[in-house]
Protein backbone atom coordinates (compact mmCIF):
# COMPACT_ATOMS: atom_id res chain seq x y z
CA UNK A 1 0.00 0.00 0.00
CA UNK A 2 2.82 2.35 0.81
CA UNK A 3 4.36 1.43 -2.52
CA UNK A 4 1.19 2.45 -4.27
CA UNK A 5 0.85 5.71 -2.43
CA UNK A 6 4.47 6.60 -3.12
CA UNK A 7 4.30 5.86 -6.81
CA UNK A 8 0.69 6.63 -7.50
CA UNK A 9 1.52 9.72 -9.54
CA UNK A 10 4.07 7.93 -11.66
CA UNK A 11 1.64 5.10 -12.23
CA UNK A 12 -0.99 7.61 -13.15
CA UNK A 13 1.33 9.48 -15.49
CA UNK A 14 2.52 6.41 -17.37
CA UNK A 15 -0.95 5.00 -17.31
CA UNK A 16 -2.16 8.09 -19.14
CA UNK A 17 0.73 7.90 -21.58
CA UNK A 18 0.01 4.29 -22.44
CA UNK A 19 -3.71 4.90 -22.75
CA UNK A 20 -2.90 7.74 -25.12
CA UNK A 21 -0.53 5.58 -27.14
CA UNK A 22 -3.15 2.88 -27.34
CA UNK A 23 -5.69 5.34 -28.68
CA UNK A 24 -3.24 6.73 -31.26
CA UNK A 25 -2.30 3.26 -32.39
CA UNK A 26 -5.70 1.67 -32.57
CA UNK A 27 -8.35 4.29 -33.21
CA UNK A 28 -9.24 5.18 -36.77
CA UNK A 29 -11.03 8.42 -36.17
CA UNK A 30 -8.83 11.47 -36.44
CA UNK A 31 -10.57 13.23 -33.57
CA UNK A 32 -9.92 10.26 -31.33
CA UNK A 33 -6.29 10.19 -32.37
CA UNK A 34 -6.01 13.86 -31.50
CA UNK A 35 -7.59 13.14 -28.13
CA UNK A 36 -5.07 10.34 -27.69
CA UNK A 37 -2.20 12.71 -28.41
CA UNK A 38 -3.64 15.11 -25.92
CA UNK A 39 -3.86 12.40 -23.29
CA UNK A 40 -0.21 11.49 -23.88
CA UNK A 41 0.59 15.14 -23.41
CA UNK A 42 -1.34 15.27 -20.16
CA UNK A 43 0.41 12.16 -18.95
CA UNK A 44 3.81 13.66 -19.66
CA UNK A 45 2.82 16.88 -17.92
CA UNK A 46 1.73 14.94 -14.89
CA UNK A 47 5.00 13.08 -14.99
CA UNK A 48 7.00 16.31 -15.10
CA UNK A 49 5.08 17.76 -12.17
CA UNK A 50 5.59 14.57 -10.23
CA UNK A 51 9.33 14.80 -10.62
CA UNK A 52 9.45 18.03 -8.68
CA UNK A 53 6.68 17.26 -6.27
CA UNK A 54 7.30 16.78 -2.58
CA UNK A 55 4.48 15.64 -0.34
CA UNK A 56 3.37 18.49 1.90
CA UNK A 57 5.92 20.81 0.30
CA UNK A 58 5.26 24.49 -0.13
CA UNK A 59 5.98 27.03 -2.76
CA UNK A 60 9.66 27.88 -3.04
CA UNK A 61 9.31 31.35 -1.61
CA UNK A 62 11.82 32.36 1.04
CA UNK A 63 9.44 34.57 2.90
CA UNK A 64 8.79 32.43 5.94
CA UNK A 65 11.83 32.08 8.10
CA UNK A 66 13.00 28.62 9.00
CA UNK A 67 11.81 26.95 5.80
CA UNK A 68 14.30 24.42 4.48
CA UNK A 69 15.01 23.73 0.87
CA UNK A 70 13.89 20.12 1.05
CA UNK A 71 10.45 21.19 2.13
CA UNK A 72 9.94 23.19 -1.02
CA UNK A 73 8.59 21.95 -4.32
CA UNK A 74 10.99 22.22 -7.25
CA UNK A 75 9.67 25.14 -9.33
CA UNK A 76 11.45 24.25 -12.59
CA UNK A 77 9.15 21.38 -13.65
CA UNK A 78 6.16 23.58 -13.08
CA UNK A 79 7.64 26.16 -15.40
CA UNK A 80 8.34 23.41 -17.90
CA UNK A 81 4.81 22.12 -17.69
CA UNK A 82 3.44 25.55 -18.24
CA UNK A 83 5.39 25.79 -21.45
CA UNK A 84 4.53 22.25 -22.43
CA UNK A 85 0.84 22.92 -21.93
CA UNK A 86 1.03 25.93 -24.18
CA UNK A 87 2.77 23.90 -26.85
CA UNK A 88 0.25 21.11 -26.41
CA UNK A 89 -2.62 23.50 -26.85
CA UNK A 90 -1.04 24.94 -29.96
CA UNK A 91 -0.72 21.51 -31.50
CA UNK A 92 -4.24 20.63 -30.43
CA UNK A 93 -5.68 23.74 -31.98
CA UNK A 94 -3.79 23.23 -35.20
CA UNK A 95 -4.78 19.59 -35.33
CA UNK A 96 -8.45 20.34 -34.79
CA UNK A 97 -8.48 23.03 -37.44
CA UNK A 98 -6.76 20.69 -39.86
CA UNK A 99 -9.32 18.04 -38.98
CA UNK A 100 -12.11 20.42 -39.98
CA UNK A 101 -10.42 21.07 -43.30
CA UNK A 102 -9.76 17.40 -43.81
CA UNK A 103 -13.38 16.59 -43.28
CA UNK A 104 -14.36 19.21 -45.86
CA UNK A 105 -12.09 17.64 -48.45
CA UNK A 106 -12.55 13.97 -47.78
CA UNK A 107 -15.95 13.77 -46.20
CA UNK A 108 -14.64 11.41 -43.58
CA UNK A 109 -12.32 11.42 -40.63
CA UNK A 110 -11.45 7.75 -40.90
CA UNK A 111 -7.67 7.71 -41.17
CA UNK A 112 -7.64 4.29 -42.80
CA UNK A 113 -9.57 5.71 -45.71
CA UNK A 114 -7.46 8.82 -46.10
CA UNK A 115 -4.50 7.37 -47.87
CA UNK A 116 -4.14 9.13 -51.16
CA UNK A 117 -0.58 10.16 -50.36
CA UNK A 118 1.43 7.01 -50.32
CA UNK A 119 4.42 5.18 -51.79
Amino acid sequence: MTFLSEYIYYIGAFGLIFIGLYIVLVKKNLIKVIIGLSIIDTGINLFLITIGYIRDGTAPVFSKPGLKANEMVDPVPQALVLTAIVIGVAILALAISLAVKLYKHHGTLNLRKINEQKW
Binding site: L30, L37, I44, T83, I87, I91, E116
Partner: protein, 491 residues
Protein backbone atom coordinates in the same frame (compact mmCIF):
# COMPACT_ATOMS: atom_id res chain seq x y z
CA UNK B 1 29.87 43.57 -30.14
CA UNK B 2 26.96 41.73 -31.66
CA UNK B 3 24.98 39.43 -29.48
CA UNK B 4 23.77 36.04 -30.71
CA UNK B 5 20.46 36.67 -28.96
CA UNK B 6 19.64 39.11 -31.73
CA UNK B 7 19.63 36.20 -34.16
CA UNK B 8 16.57 34.84 -32.40
CA UNK B 9 14.92 37.99 -31.07
CA UNK B 10 14.78 40.01 -34.25
CA UNK B 11 13.06 37.45 -36.50
CA UNK B 12 10.77 36.39 -33.66
CA UNK B 13 9.76 39.95 -32.95
CA UNK B 14 9.36 40.82 -36.61
CA UNK B 15 7.22 37.75 -37.15
CA UNK B 16 4.56 39.12 -34.90
CA UNK B 17 4.58 42.61 -36.31
CA UNK B 18 3.91 41.37 -39.84
CA UNK B 19 0.14 41.86 -39.45
CA UNK B 20 0.69 45.43 -38.25
CA UNK B 21 2.66 46.23 -41.34
CA UNK B 22 -0.18 44.61 -43.18
CA UNK B 23 -2.44 47.39 -41.94
CA UNK B 24 -0.20 49.99 -43.51
CA UNK B 25 0.27 48.27 -46.82
CA UNK B 26 -0.21 44.71 -48.00
CA UNK B 27 2.87 45.05 -50.16
CA UNK B 28 5.28 45.60 -47.31
CA UNK B 29 4.49 42.27 -45.66
CA UNK B 30 6.56 40.19 -47.96
CA UNK B 31 9.65 42.25 -47.33
CA UNK B 32 9.63 41.59 -43.59
CA UNK B 33 11.17 38.09 -43.79
CA UNK B 34 13.62 39.46 -46.32
CA UNK B 35 14.73 42.20 -43.90
CA UNK B 36 14.81 39.93 -40.87
CA UNK B 37 16.85 37.24 -42.56
CA UNK B 38 19.17 39.70 -44.19
CA UNK B 39 19.81 41.03 -40.71
CA UNK B 40 20.42 37.50 -39.46
CA UNK B 41 22.81 36.82 -42.29
CA UNK B 42 24.84 39.93 -41.52
CA UNK B 43 24.91 39.29 -37.78
CA UNK B 44 25.88 35.67 -38.14
CA UNK B 45 28.62 36.54 -40.60
CA UNK B 46 29.89 39.21 -38.19
CA UNK B 47 29.95 36.65 -35.42
CA UNK B 48 31.69 34.11 -37.58
CA UNK B 49 35.36 35.06 -37.09
CA UNK B 50 34.92 35.57 -33.38
CA UNK B 51 33.21 32.24 -32.90
CA UNK B 52 35.97 30.42 -34.69
CA UNK B 53 38.46 31.73 -32.15
CA UNK B 54 36.31 30.99 -29.13
CA UNK B 55 32.65 30.02 -28.69
CA UNK B 56 30.41 32.88 -27.63
CA UNK B 57 28.23 32.28 -24.59
CA UNK B 58 25.21 34.28 -23.59
CA UNK B 59 23.27 33.75 -20.39
CA UNK B 60 19.72 34.90 -20.76
CA UNK B 61 18.55 36.98 -17.82
CA UNK B 62 21.96 36.97 -16.22
CA UNK B 63 21.68 33.50 -14.69
CA UNK B 64 24.98 31.72 -15.04
CA UNK B 65 24.85 28.11 -16.23
CA UNK B 66 23.74 25.62 -15.03
CA UNK B 67 20.90 27.88 -13.95
CA UNK B 68 18.88 29.73 -16.47
CA UNK B 69 18.96 29.44 -20.20
CA UNK B 70 22.14 29.96 -22.09
CA UNK B 71 23.03 30.28 -25.73
CA UNK B 72 26.18 28.67 -27.06
CA UNK B 73 27.37 29.93 -30.41
CA UNK B 74 30.07 27.41 -31.19
CA UNK B 75 31.45 26.73 -34.68
CA UNK B 76 28.74 24.22 -35.46
CA UNK B 77 26.03 26.52 -34.19
CA UNK B 78 27.25 29.43 -36.25
CA UNK B 79 27.66 27.20 -39.29
CA UNK B 80 24.01 26.25 -39.07
CA UNK B 81 22.96 29.81 -38.34
CA UNK B 82 24.68 31.07 -41.44
CA UNK B 83 23.15 28.30 -43.52
CA UNK B 84 19.68 28.96 -42.14
CA UNK B 85 19.98 32.68 -42.66
CA UNK B 86 21.38 32.27 -46.15
CA UNK B 87 18.84 29.78 -47.42
CA UNK B 88 16.04 31.56 -45.59
CA UNK B 89 17.06 34.86 -47.09
CA UNK B 90 17.19 33.49 -50.62
CA UNK B 91 13.88 31.69 -50.24
CA UNK B 92 12.30 34.87 -48.93
CA UNK B 93 13.32 36.58 -52.16
CA UNK B 94 11.87 33.65 -54.08
CA UNK B 95 8.59 34.07 -52.23
CA UNK B 96 8.09 37.64 -53.52
CA UNK B 97 6.51 36.41 -56.69
CA UNK B 98 5.91 32.79 -55.84
CA UNK B 99 3.47 33.30 -52.97
CA UNK B 100 0.38 34.90 -54.37
CA UNK B 101 -2.38 33.32 -52.33
CA UNK B 102 -4.69 35.41 -50.21
CA UNK B 103 -3.20 34.55 -46.84
CA UNK B 104 0.19 35.99 -47.54
CA UNK B 105 0.72 37.41 -44.10
CA UNK B 106 0.19 34.05 -42.45
CA UNK B 107 2.76 32.56 -44.76
CA UNK B 108 5.30 35.18 -43.85
CA UNK B 109 4.65 34.92 -40.10
CA UNK B 110 4.94 31.16 -40.13
CA UNK B 111 7.97 31.27 -42.36
CA UNK B 112 9.79 33.58 -39.98
CA UNK B 113 8.76 31.45 -37.01
CA UNK B 114 10.05 28.34 -38.73
CA UNK B 115 13.46 29.90 -39.25
CA UNK B 116 13.49 31.36 -35.74
CA UNK B 117 12.82 27.92 -34.37
CA UNK B 118 15.61 26.45 -36.45
CA UNK B 119 18.06 29.15 -35.36
CA UNK B 120 17.06 28.66 -31.74
CA UNK B 121 17.61 24.93 -31.87
CA UNK B 122 21.15 25.27 -33.12
CA UNK B 123 22.14 28.07 -30.75
CA UNK B 124 20.65 27.03 -27.46
CA UNK B 125 22.55 25.25 -24.74
CA UNK B 126 19.54 24.18 -22.73
CA UNK B 127 17.76 20.97 -23.52
CA UNK B 128 14.26 22.19 -22.70
CA UNK B 129 14.81 25.38 -24.58
CA UNK B 130 15.93 23.25 -27.50
CA UNK B 131 12.65 21.38 -27.24
CA UNK B 132 10.67 24.63 -27.26
CA UNK B 133 12.41 25.95 -30.34
CA UNK B 134 12.06 22.57 -31.91
CA UNK B 135 8.32 22.75 -31.37
CA UNK B 136 8.19 26.23 -32.88
CA UNK B 137 9.95 24.81 -35.91
CA UNK B 138 7.64 21.82 -36.11
CA UNK B 139 4.33 23.58 -35.55
CA UNK B 140 5.08 26.22 -38.11
CA UNK B 141 6.13 23.61 -40.59
CA UNK B 142 2.92 21.62 -40.04
CA UNK B 143 0.89 24.67 -40.84
CA UNK B 144 3.07 25.68 -43.77
CA UNK B 145 2.69 22.22 -45.30
CA UNK B 146 -1.06 22.82 -45.16
CA UNK B 147 -0.67 26.29 -46.64
CA UNK B 148 -2.31 25.57 -49.98
CA UNK B 149 -5.29 24.10 -48.17
CA UNK B 150 -6.10 21.59 -50.88
CA UNK B 151 -6.83 17.94 -50.46
CA UNK B 152 -3.31 16.57 -50.61
CA UNK B 153 -1.65 19.24 -48.52
CA UNK B 154 -4.17 18.96 -45.68
CA UNK B 155 -3.83 15.21 -45.69
CA UNK B 156 -0.04 15.41 -45.58
CA UNK B 157 -0.11 18.03 -42.87
CA UNK B 158 -2.37 15.92 -40.68
CA UNK B 159 -0.14 12.91 -41.05
CA UNK B 160 2.94 14.99 -40.45
CA UNK B 161 1.34 16.47 -37.37
CA UNK B 162 0.38 13.15 -35.83
CA UNK B 163 3.85 11.71 -36.27
CA UNK B 164 5.59 14.91 -35.30
CA UNK B 165 3.49 15.39 -32.19
CA UNK B 166 4.19 11.85 -31.10
CA UNK B 167 7.89 12.47 -31.67
CA UNK B 168 7.89 15.60 -29.57
CA UNK B 169 6.01 13.81 -26.78
CA UNK B 170 8.86 11.32 -26.72
CA UNK B 171 11.41 14.11 -26.51
CA UNK B 172 9.56 15.72 -23.66
CA UNK B 173 9.41 12.42 -21.85
CA UNK B 174 13.13 12.04 -22.29
CA UNK B 175 13.71 15.50 -20.87
CA UNK B 176 11.53 14.63 -17.89
CA UNK B 177 13.47 11.45 -17.22
CA UNK B 178 16.79 13.27 -17.40
CA UNK B 179 15.61 16.08 -15.17
CA UNK B 180 14.29 13.58 -12.68
CA UNK B 181 17.72 12.03 -12.37
CA UNK B 182 20.01 15.00 -12.50
CA UNK B 183 17.88 17.99 -11.61
CA UNK B 184 19.28 20.15 -14.34
CA UNK B 185 18.39 21.08 -17.89
CA UNK B 186 21.63 22.61 -19.00
CA UNK B 187 23.21 20.42 -21.65
CA UNK B 188 26.75 20.93 -20.44
CA UNK B 189 25.77 20.21 -16.87
CA UNK B 190 23.85 17.11 -17.91
CA UNK B 191 26.78 15.99 -20.03
CA UNK B 192 29.08 16.37 -17.06
CA UNK B 193 26.87 14.05 -15.05
CA UNK B 194 26.40 11.35 -17.67
CA UNK B 195 29.34 9.00 -17.75
CA UNK B 196 27.92 6.09 -19.68
CA UNK B 197 24.68 5.14 -21.33
CA UNK B 198 24.85 1.58 -20.21
CA UNK B 199 22.26 1.74 -17.46
CA UNK B 200 18.66 1.60 -18.59
CA UNK B 201 17.72 4.78 -16.80
CA UNK B 202 20.09 6.77 -18.97
CA UNK B 203 19.64 4.69 -22.05
CA UNK B 204 15.88 5.17 -22.19
CA UNK B 205 16.09 8.96 -22.45
CA UNK B 206 18.77 8.57 -25.13
CA UNK B 207 16.52 6.31 -27.16
CA UNK B 208 13.58 8.63 -26.63
CA UNK B 209 15.66 11.51 -27.96
CA UNK B 210 16.93 9.51 -30.92
CA UNK B 211 13.41 8.47 -31.82
CA UNK B 212 11.92 11.89 -31.21
CA UNK B 213 14.49 13.84 -33.15
CA UNK B 214 14.71 11.02 -35.64
CA UNK B 215 11.12 11.71 -36.67
CA UNK B 216 12.02 15.23 -37.67
CA UNK B 217 15.38 14.18 -39.10
CA UNK B 218 13.62 11.57 -41.25
CA UNK B 219 15.63 8.55 -40.22
CA UNK B 220 14.23 5.25 -41.41
CA UNK B 221 11.70 3.97 -40.23
CA UNK B 222 10.50 7.27 -38.76
CA UNK B 223 10.37 9.15 -42.04
CA UNK B 224 7.04 8.25 -43.54
CA UNK B 225 5.75 11.80 -43.24
CA UNK B 226 8.52 13.31 -45.31
CA UNK B 227 7.62 12.41 -48.90
CA UNK B 228 4.03 13.51 -48.36
CA UNK B 229 4.86 16.74 -46.57
CA UNK B 230 7.70 17.83 -48.82
CA UNK B 231 5.82 17.11 -51.97
CA UNK B 232 2.60 18.88 -51.07
CA UNK B 233 4.04 21.97 -49.42
CA UNK B 234 4.63 25.08 -51.53
CA UNK B 235 7.97 24.65 -53.27
CA UNK B 236 9.59 27.48 -51.35
CA UNK B 237 8.66 25.70 -48.14
CA UNK B 238 9.80 22.36 -49.51
CA UNK B 239 13.16 23.96 -50.11
CA UNK B 240 13.36 25.14 -46.52
CA UNK B 241 11.99 21.90 -45.09
CA UNK B 242 14.40 19.81 -47.11
CA UNK B 243 17.32 22.16 -46.85
CA UNK B 244 16.98 23.24 -43.23
CA UNK B 245 14.32 21.51 -41.16
CA UNK B 246 15.52 17.95 -41.47
CA UNK B 247 19.14 19.05 -41.10
CA UNK B 248 18.20 20.80 -37.86
CA UNK B 249 16.55 17.57 -36.71
CA UNK B 250 19.76 15.76 -37.53
CA UNK B 251 21.73 18.42 -35.69
CA UNK B 252 19.60 17.95 -32.57
CA UNK B 253 20.09 14.22 -32.80
CA UNK B 254 23.87 14.29 -33.14
CA UNK B 255 24.14 17.01 -30.51
CA UNK B 256 22.28 14.80 -28.09
CA UNK B 257 24.19 11.67 -29.01
CA UNK B 258 27.65 13.25 -29.05
CA UNK B 259 27.56 16.06 -26.53
CA UNK B 260 24.80 15.20 -24.11
CA UNK B 261 25.29 11.47 -23.82
CA UNK B 262 28.66 10.81 -25.36
CA UNK B 263 27.06 7.62 -26.58
CA UNK B 264 29.82 6.19 -28.72
CA UNK B 265 28.50 2.66 -28.31
CA UNK B 266 25.33 3.31 -30.26
CA UNK B 267 27.13 4.89 -33.21
CA UNK B 268 27.58 1.64 -35.11
CA UNK B 269 23.86 1.13 -34.96
CA UNK B 270 23.22 4.67 -36.19
CA UNK B 271 25.67 4.10 -38.99
CA UNK B 272 23.84 1.02 -40.18
CA UNK B 273 20.60 2.92 -39.83
CA UNK B 274 22.10 5.65 -42.00
CA UNK B 275 23.02 3.21 -44.74
CA UNK B 276 19.57 1.61 -44.63
CA UNK B 277 17.94 5.03 -44.79
CA UNK B 278 20.13 5.90 -47.74
CA UNK B 279 19.36 2.74 -49.67
CA UNK B 280 15.63 2.88 -49.01
CA UNK B 281 15.41 6.56 -49.84
CA UNK B 282 17.23 6.13 -53.14
CA UNK B 283 15.35 3.00 -54.13
CA UNK B 284 12.03 4.69 -53.48
CA UNK B 285 13.09 7.83 -55.31
CA UNK B 286 14.13 5.69 -58.27
CA UNK B 287 10.52 4.61 -58.78
CA UNK B 288 8.85 8.00 -58.51
CA UNK B 289 7.09 9.77 -61.34
CA UNK B 290 6.25 12.81 -59.25
CA UNK B 291 9.22 15.15 -59.27
CA UNK B 292 8.73 16.58 -55.82
CA UNK B 293 8.22 13.18 -54.26
CA UNK B 294 11.37 12.08 -56.01
CA UNK B 295 13.30 14.99 -54.54
CA UNK B 296 11.80 14.28 -51.13
CA UNK B 297 12.89 10.65 -51.18
CA UNK B 298 16.27 11.80 -52.37
CA UNK B 299 16.43 13.98 -49.23
CA UNK B 300 15.82 10.89 -47.14
CA UNK B 301 18.71 9.23 -48.88
CA UNK B 302 20.99 12.19 -48.31
CA UNK B 303 20.07 12.33 -44.63
CA UNK B 304 21.05 8.69 -44.41
CA UNK B 305 24.39 9.48 -46.01
CA UNK B 306 25.01 12.31 -43.55
CA UNK B 307 24.04 10.13 -40.62
CA UNK B 308 26.46 7.48 -41.83
CA UNK B 309 29.32 9.92 -42.11
CA UNK B 310 28.61 11.63 -38.80
CA UNK B 311 28.39 8.27 -37.06
CA UNK B 312 31.89 7.36 -38.10
CA UNK B 313 32.76 9.82 -35.32
CA UNK B 314 36.25 10.56 -36.48
CA UNK B 315 37.37 14.03 -37.40
CA UNK B 316 37.24 13.03 -41.07
CA UNK B 317 33.82 11.51 -40.72
CA UNK B 318 32.17 14.48 -39.05
CA UNK B 319 33.84 16.93 -41.36
CA UNK B 320 32.65 14.91 -44.32
CA UNK B 321 29.17 14.56 -42.93
CA UNK B 322 28.85 18.27 -42.28
CA UNK B 323 30.23 19.04 -45.72
CA UNK B 324 27.62 16.77 -47.18
CA UNK B 325 25.06 18.58 -45.06
CA UNK B 326 26.09 21.96 -46.45
CA UNK B 327 26.12 20.61 -49.97
CA UNK B 328 22.71 19.04 -49.53
CA UNK B 329 21.26 22.22 -48.07
CA UNK B 330 22.44 24.27 -51.01
CA UNK B 331 21.78 21.64 -53.66
CA UNK B 332 18.39 20.47 -52.54
CA UNK B 333 17.09 23.99 -51.93
CA UNK B 334 18.19 24.86 -55.42
CA UNK B 335 16.48 21.80 -56.85
CA UNK B 336 13.22 22.52 -55.06
CA UNK B 337 13.27 26.17 -56.04
CA UNK B 338 14.04 25.45 -59.68
CA UNK B 339 11.62 22.54 -59.88
CA UNK B 340 9.03 24.62 -58.05
CA UNK B 341 9.03 27.29 -60.66
CA UNK B 342 8.85 24.82 -63.50
CA UNK B 343 5.94 23.10 -61.76
CA UNK B 344 4.30 26.47 -61.29
CA UNK B 345 4.54 27.07 -65.03
CA UNK B 346 3.65 23.64 -66.30
CA UNK B 347 1.03 22.99 -63.67
CA UNK B 348 1.99 19.38 -63.15
CA UNK B 349 4.43 17.60 -60.92
CA UNK B 350 4.92 14.69 -63.25
CA UNK B 351 8.42 14.26 -64.62
CA UNK B 352 7.02 14.04 -68.12
CA UNK B 353 5.69 17.59 -67.77
CA UNK B 354 9.30 18.74 -67.58
CA UNK B 355 9.93 17.64 -71.14
CA UNK B 356 11.18 20.46 -73.26
CA UNK B 357 11.68 22.78 -70.30
CA UNK B 358 15.31 23.19 -71.29
CA UNK B 359 14.10 25.21 -74.22
CA UNK B 360 11.26 27.01 -72.50
CA UNK B 361 13.13 28.04 -69.36
CA UNK B 362 16.81 27.78 -70.14
CA UNK B 363 18.16 29.32 -66.93
CA UNK B 364 15.93 27.46 -64.52
CA UNK B 365 16.62 24.20 -66.31
CA UNK B 366 20.35 24.84 -66.25
CA UNK B 367 20.23 25.53 -62.53
CA UNK B 368 18.26 22.35 -61.98
CA UNK B 369 20.85 20.40 -63.95
CA UNK B 370 23.70 21.80 -61.93
CA UNK B 371 21.89 21.06 -58.69
CA UNK B 372 21.20 17.51 -59.82
CA UNK B 373 24.82 16.93 -60.83
CA UNK B 374 25.92 18.32 -57.51
CA UNK B 375 23.65 16.05 -55.50
CA UNK B 376 24.90 13.05 -57.46
CA UNK B 377 28.42 14.13 -56.60
CA UNK B 378 29.92 15.04 -59.93
CA UNK B 379 32.77 17.54 -60.03
CA UNK B 380 33.24 20.47 -60.27
CA UNK B 381 30.21 20.97 -58.06
CA UNK B 382 29.92 20.98 -54.28
CA UNK B 383 28.65 17.42 -53.98
CA UNK B 384 31.95 15.95 -55.11
CA UNK B 385 34.21 17.07 -52.23
CA UNK B 386 31.54 15.82 -49.83
CA UNK B 387 31.47 12.42 -51.46
CA UNK B 388 35.26 12.28 -51.54
CA UNK B 389 35.50 13.18 -47.86
CA UNK B 390 32.96 10.56 -46.86
CA UNK B 391 34.73 7.84 -48.81
CA UNK B 392 37.99 8.93 -47.24
CA UNK B 393 36.53 8.91 -43.75
CA UNK B 394 35.06 5.44 -44.21
CA UNK B 395 38.21 3.92 -45.68
CA UNK B 396 40.36 5.59 -43.07
CA UNK B 397 38.88 3.31 -40.43
CA UNK B 398 40.46 0.35 -42.22
CA UNK B 399 37.75 -2.05 -41.21
CA UNK B 400 35.95 -4.51 -43.40
CA UNK B 401 32.53 -3.29 -42.28
CA UNK B 402 33.24 0.22 -43.47
CA UNK B 403 34.57 -0.94 -46.80
CA UNK B 404 31.46 -3.01 -47.39
CA UNK B 405 29.19 -0.17 -46.34
CA UNK B 406 30.96 2.28 -48.60
CA UNK B 407 30.23 0.04 -51.57
CA UNK B 408 26.57 0.03 -50.63
CA UNK B 409 26.68 3.79 -50.38
CA UNK B 410 28.27 4.10 -53.76
CA UNK B 411 25.68 1.76 -55.22
CA UNK B 412 23.07 4.12 -53.82
CA UNK B 413 24.87 7.03 -55.47
CA UNK B 414 24.59 5.26 -58.79
CA UNK B 415 20.86 4.73 -58.29
CA UNK B 416 20.57 8.37 -57.36
CA UNK B 417 22.42 9.28 -60.52
CA UNK B 418 20.01 7.19 -62.55
CA UNK B 419 16.90 9.09 -61.57
CA UNK B 420 18.47 12.52 -61.64
CA UNK B 421 19.92 11.95 -65.10
CA UNK B 422 16.51 10.86 -66.22
CA UNK B 423 15.07 14.23 -65.25
CA UNK B 424 17.95 16.03 -66.91
CA UNK B 425 17.25 14.13 -70.10
CA UNK B 426 13.60 15.02 -69.84
CA UNK B 427 14.56 18.67 -69.53
CA UNK B 428 16.76 18.81 -72.55
CA UNK B 429 16.31 15.86 -74.84
CA UNK B 430 12.62 15.22 -74.97
CA UNK B 431 10.30 17.32 -77.03
CA UNK B 432 7.29 18.79 -75.41
CA UNK B 433 4.12 17.09 -76.44
CA UNK B 434 1.75 20.01 -76.71
CA UNK B 435 3.45 22.51 -78.92
CA UNK B 436 1.30 25.54 -78.17
CA UNK B 437 3.41 27.00 -75.40
CA UNK B 438 6.82 26.46 -76.90
CA UNK B 439 7.90 30.03 -76.43
CA UNK B 440 10.65 30.92 -74.06
CA UNK B 441 9.61 32.18 -70.70
CA UNK B 442 12.28 33.80 -68.63
CA UNK B 443 11.39 33.59 -64.97
CA UNK B 444 11.00 36.86 -63.06
CA UNK B 445 14.10 38.20 -61.36
CA UNK B 446 12.92 37.36 -57.87
CA UNK B 447 12.92 33.72 -58.92
CA UNK B 448 16.16 33.83 -60.84
CA UNK B 449 18.28 35.67 -58.28
CA UNK B 450 18.05 33.07 -55.50
CA UNK B 451 18.54 30.30 -58.01
CA UNK B 452 21.61 31.96 -59.45
CA UNK B 453 23.11 32.70 -56.07
CA UNK B 454 22.66 29.10 -54.96
CA UNK B 455 24.15 27.88 -58.23
CA UNK B 456 27.06 30.21 -57.69
CA UNK B 457 27.71 28.82 -54.23
CA UNK B 458 27.50 25.29 -55.54
CA UNK B 459 30.09 25.92 -58.20
CA UNK B 460 32.41 28.10 -56.15
CA UNK B 461 32.55 25.86 -53.08
CA UNK B 462 32.79 22.88 -55.40
CA UNK B 463 35.94 24.34 -56.90
CA UNK B 464 37.27 25.91 -53.71
CA UNK B 465 36.05 23.83 -50.75
CA UNK B 466 38.53 25.50 -48.44
CA UNK B 467 35.95 28.25 -48.00
CA UNK B 468 34.06 26.09 -45.56
CA UNK B 469 36.39 23.29 -44.53
CA UNK B 470 37.99 25.32 -41.73
CA UNK B 471 34.75 25.89 -39.91
CA UNK B 472 33.82 22.27 -40.50
CA UNK B 473 37.00 21.04 -38.90
CA UNK B 474 36.45 23.12 -35.80
CA UNK B 475 32.80 22.03 -35.73
CA UNK B 476 33.98 18.45 -35.79
CA UNK B 477 36.29 19.04 -32.88
CA UNK B 478 33.49 20.77 -30.98
CA UNK B 479 31.30 17.71 -31.42
CA UNK B 480 34.04 15.24 -30.63
CA UNK B 481 35.54 16.92 -27.58
CA UNK B 482 32.77 16.64 -25.09
CA UNK B 483 34.94 17.70 -22.17
CA UNK B 484 35.90 20.95 -23.89
CA UNK B 485 32.28 21.79 -24.48
CA UNK B 486 31.44 21.23 -20.83
CA UNK B 487 34.41 23.24 -19.72
CA UNK B 488 33.69 26.13 -22.00
CA UNK B 489 30.09 26.43 -20.82
CA UNK B 490 30.79 25.93 -17.14
CA UNK B 491 34.32 27.03 -16.36
Amino acid sequence: MVNPVLLIVIPLGLAFVVPFFGFISKKIEKFIPFVALFFNLIVSLRLFPRVLEQPVHVSIGGFVPPFGINLVAGPIGILFTVLIALVGFLVSIYAFDYIKEKDQEKYHILYLLLLTGATGVVLTGDIFNLFVFFEILCISSYSLVAYFGDKTSIESAVKYLIQGALGSCLILMGIGLLYGQFGTLNMADLAGNIKSVHSVSIFVPLVLFITGFGVEAAIFPLNAWLPDAHSSAPSSISAVLSGIAIEVGLYAMIRVVFTLFGASSILTFLMLLGVITLLIGELCAFCQENIKRMLAYSSIGQIGLMLFALSIASSYGITGGLFQLVSHTLGKSLLFLAAGYMIYRSGSMNISSFEGMGKRMPYTALAFTIGAFSIVGLPPFIGFPGKLMIVKAALFEQEMLYTVLIFFILLATVIEGAYYFRVVQALYFKEEKNTQNQKREIAPLSILIPIFILTGFIVVIGIYPKLITDVLVSSASELLNRADYIKSVMP
